[in-house]
Subunit: 96 residues, 2 copies
């Protein structure tokens, strides 16, 4: 299933930048970074629980906000984009 | 239905900050700002088309990224949050 993860952190501080970097690193193990603090991850239920626990440990709960949106398996028709794009599709195969 | 709108803009420039402010103003007519550049909007199909056209006119398509995620009507069970919260539920009634 696709889980959209959005992360709000104050990146004016170095500690905030470090937390964002760590969140990005974990999320990109499961998908792609589509915006600076928006990640589309393809996970099963077990991976989702694991990822949530990891991210929960990284963030500062008194300063940061982390939101999870569950878009299910038929997510292709549920997403639209305008403007510049970054990254590749979360389930896109790369032929090198 | 709930439409999640995520907006990536470089807010290091004043022009970027102005565009983010304009996007936020339009989105909060239909819902709430849950993170700095993440908005949850409750719209019907006609409102959704209208809002997309308005936002498309505001952003700089060569610099900014705007994404729409359609979470349908039964969205309450599709969202989870960790950390600080901002705003109120998009469909929450305020008793003053």
């Amino acid at each position: 299933m696709l889980v959209l993860i959005t992360y709000d952190v104050n990146t004016e501080t170095n500690a905030g930048k470090t937390r964002l970097r760590k969140v990005a690193k974990q999320c990109t193990n499961y998908g792609r970074r589509v915006q600076n603090s928006v990640f589309e991850c393809i996970v099963d239920n077990a991976q989702c629980v694991e990822l949530k626990a990891i991210l929960s440990d990284i963030i500062d709960k008194n300063l940061d906000s982390l939101r999870f949106y569950y878009l299910g398996n038929n997510y292709q028709t549920k997403i639209e984009h305008i403007g510049i794009e970054r990254g590749i599709s979360a389930d896109q195969v790369l032929f090198l």
